[in-house]
């Protein structure tokens, strides 16, 4: 009975070309558009360096020292300014220009001296980038100031370690995290969008599942099956398993798109040197949650139109809340908490644990567990409602 149902569902899924188009073509389009369009924006938030120029008009040692200090800042990527630096800065490349004035060294000896260091920002520089760059420049300036002071005091020699004297080692940084928490480590555009739109597409199976369920109910096929003695678990299981297979195919397709198609169009490639077993476990967990949700919607709606509207709308809402359209790392803390209501956010964090943070299946046990529990709970409710409902 179960095998016959499974074969039938595979046949039906394979012949539903519209559904297949939505489930595969839609996420590919979204990944391409979002990864390419927001690549710069993501790179400015993530691990890629903030590009800037320096214009050194001074020949003093202090100016060169400042330059060296800034070169060693890991978040900055400095190079010499071009002659038309103002025009290029207005165009947004580079992000900033640091002009060291001719009498820069005078600032350390003459407290009445005027501005000897100017930081110019491009129009598109965000407030967070400006603060980060300003802080780096001020820190580098403080190091130079300390060096000058120590030299004046006769305490600077070849063994002097400015970093030790800055005593930054007294600051310890701890980022507290509960399992499943959203972290604010920023992914690249492709690292965010491939898993995000994959999850969105996986949940979109709610529409074809609910539609076929409603059609079976309306055509009395469901009644016929009940009279033949089919069990609810057999009915649901056979109906949902082919879509789990579809979800796995979606995973394969989206990884290929991220790794090979996005870079062909000028975007960053998705690094696939990650735990594939972790990706598989996470995908299966997300699939279980999506299938359970789909089963419940299918049981509750009465018409194909309701299936489309309820399925599509709920998908969009869960996606918006869960960090699919707007990444959670740029949400305020309150919204990040709200995001955890959406199972999609759990799935996305699980994927990021693997793609961004280099974890494996052991890193995602919490997210996977929550998603599987969610899916099974939804499926159980669906079956209870199904068995109690009059056809």
């Amino acid at each position: 009975m179960f095998l016959a149902s499974l074969i039938k569902e595979l046949q039906l899924v394979g012949r539903d070309l519209h559904a297949l188009l939505v489930l595969f073509a839609m996420p590919v389009v979204f990944v391409l558009i979002m990864s390419l369009a927001l690549q710069e924006d993501y790179s400015n938030r993530g691990g890629v360096k903030l590009a800037g120029w320096y214009l050194n008009e001074s020949s003093d040692d202090e100016a060169h020292q400042l330059q060296d200090n800034l070169m060693s800042v890991p978040q900055l990527q400095l190079s010499v300014a071009a002659d038309d630096w103002r025009a290029q800065l207005m165009d947004g490349k580079p992000l900033f220009v640091l002009r060291i004035h001719e009498r820069f060294a005078q600032a350390f000896t003459d407290t009445t001296s005027t501005v000897q260091l100017t930081l110019y920002f491009a129009p598109n520089a965000g407030s967070r980038e400006r603060l980060l760059i300003q802080a780096a420049v001020k820190r580098a300036l403080a190091r130079v100031n300390l060096q000058v002071f120590l030299a004046d005091m006769g305490m600077l020699d070849d063994d002097t370690n400015i970093s030790d004297l800055m005593r930054e080692d007294v600051l310890a940084v701890e980022h507290l995290n509960r399992p499943g928490d959203i972290t604010n480590e920023a992914p690249t555009a492709v690292q965010q969008n491939v898993p995000a739109w994959l999850i969105f597409a996986m949940y979109f199976i709610v529409i074809p599942i609910a539609t076929t369920f409603v059609q079976e109910r309306q055509q009395k096929t469901l009644s016929r099956l009940k009279m033949m003695g089919i069990s609810a678990w057999s009915l649901y299981g056979a109906k949902l398993l082919p879509y789990m297979l579809l979800n796995l195919l979606q995973l394969a397709l989206m990884l290929m798109v991220g790794a090979y198609l996005v870079p062909l169009l000028g975007g960053q490639a998705l690094n696939l040197d990650v735990s594939l077993s972790g990706l598989l476990v996470m995908t299966l967990a997300i699939s279980v949650s999506a299938l359970g949700f789909a089963a419940l919607v299918a049981t509750l709606v009465r018409t194909p139109e309701q299936a489309t509207i309820v399925g599509g709308t709920s998908n969009i809402i869960l996606g918006a809340i869960g960090g699919i359209m707007v990444p959670t790392f740029i949400m305020p803390p309150v919204m990040q908490t709200v995001a955890r209501v959406s199972p999609m956010s759990w799935g996305l964090e699980g994927y990021l644990d693997i793609l961004l943070r280099g974890g494996d299946w052991r890193s995602i046990y919490w997210e996977a567990g929550v998603l599987i529990a969610f899916g099974l709970a939804m499926l159980s409710i669906a079956i209870v409602v199904f068995t109690k409902k009059r056809e």
Binding site: Q219, T221, M227, E391
Partner: protein, 325 residues
């Protein structure tokens, strides 16, 4: 539902050829059923007996309760009162003895006839050679062999009815319930289906046939029941239903609705808006006076029917309205 199905599978080990001393196969006793949140009973104190091997007609207008009764016999609904016994066993979901061919096209249009039959045969638990034999037999009996590989959604209405029927006879049941089996079907397919139904009945299958087409039921069925508004109005063999006490009926169709004064004068019933009906009329020599009275009232006679009771007349006399109202 699963445990109930399992219980029924264990209890109802019935095949068509089993014989029993009890000639009554289906015994419906004081059945009541009310849909959730409905104000009145859909089935109201219905008691009905259907003999083993009968070809039994179930008649009634839309909303009479025919499909509800079918659902109760099939075990799809549970009655609030009364019971249904099928060969001595309580009717329940998944019972092997009963198969239903619903009014709707309850199959998958995206699949071919063969694929549909293979699926439903699998659901019934058929495997291997037995499954292949059942598919071939059902396909042949329904005349689908030539179109078996085409998707069902491309079929005509007649072929769809045949496929619907073929699924119902995959595993020869003891009771086959056909709900409007020939609705919207071309005459050729209709004749084919009716012949197949007669063949099945000759092989020993008890058939319950619901239909709006009274002529069809009158020709096909040996016995019938008429229900309306959830109540059983009359049950019996065709002979009993159509020739009560060997009396005949008289119907006169007028060109306009008669006045209430005329109706009172003629002491007859009004069927529909323009038909005068006497369930039993024996005074043929008074027919001329009757017609003169009608004509003098200003009405014109369009047709006169005098003869054996038809099912339609019986129904009209029982319910005072047309079957299609």
């Amino acid at each position: 539902m699963k445990s109930l199905t399992g219980m029924c599978a264990a209890l109802a080990r019935i095949d068509v050829t089993s014989s029993s001393a009890n000639p009554i196969l289906i015994d419906i006793q004081q059945l009541n059923y009310q849909y959730p949140r409905a104000e009145q009973l859909a089935i109201d104190s219905v008691s009905l007996q259907i003999e083993r091997g009968a070809l039994f007609g179930l008649l009634g207008p839309n909303g009479a309760g025919k499909t509800t009764l079918v659902s109760l016999i099939a075990g799809l609904c549970l009655p609030q009162a009364g019971r249904i016994l099928i060969d001595g066993q309580t009717a329940c979901l998944g019972q092997r003895a009963v198969a239903v061919v619903p009014q709707e096209y309850a199959f998958y249009g995206q699949l071919s006839a063969v694929e549909n039959l293979a699926y439903f045969a699998g659901v019934l638990g058929l495997t291997g050679a037995e499954k292949a034999q059942a598919i071939a037999s059902a396909s042949h009996a329904a005349g689908l062999n030539e179109v078996a590989q085409r998707r069902a959604e491309t079929y005509s209405g007649g072929l769809k009815r045949r496929l619907n029927f073929a699924i119902g006879i995959l595993r020869r049941p003891q009771v086959l319930i056909l709900d409007e089996a020939t609705a919207n079907v071309d005459p050729q397919s209709r004749a084919f289906l009716l012949d197949t139904i007669r063949d099945l009945n000759r092989e020993g299958v008890t058939i319950i046939y619901t239909s709006h087409l009274l002529d069809e039921v009158q020709q096909l069925c040996q016995s019938a029941a008429i229900i309306d508004v959830g109540r059983l109005l009359r049950q019996g063999t065709m002979q009993e239903l159509l020739h009560p006490q060997e009396k005949t009926s008289l119907n006169i169709d007028l060109d306009q609705p008669p006045s209430s004064a005329l109706l009172a004068q003629l002491q007859c019933k009004l069927q529909g808006r323009q038909r005068l009906h006497w369930p039993q009329w024996q005074a043929l020599d008074e027919l001329a006076d009757l017609l003169a009275t009608i004509t003098s009232s200003g009405c014109k006679v369009q047709s006169i029917h005098y003869g054996s009771q038809s099912l339609e007349n019986l129904f009209l006399s029982l319910t005072s309205r047309a079957l299609r109202d």
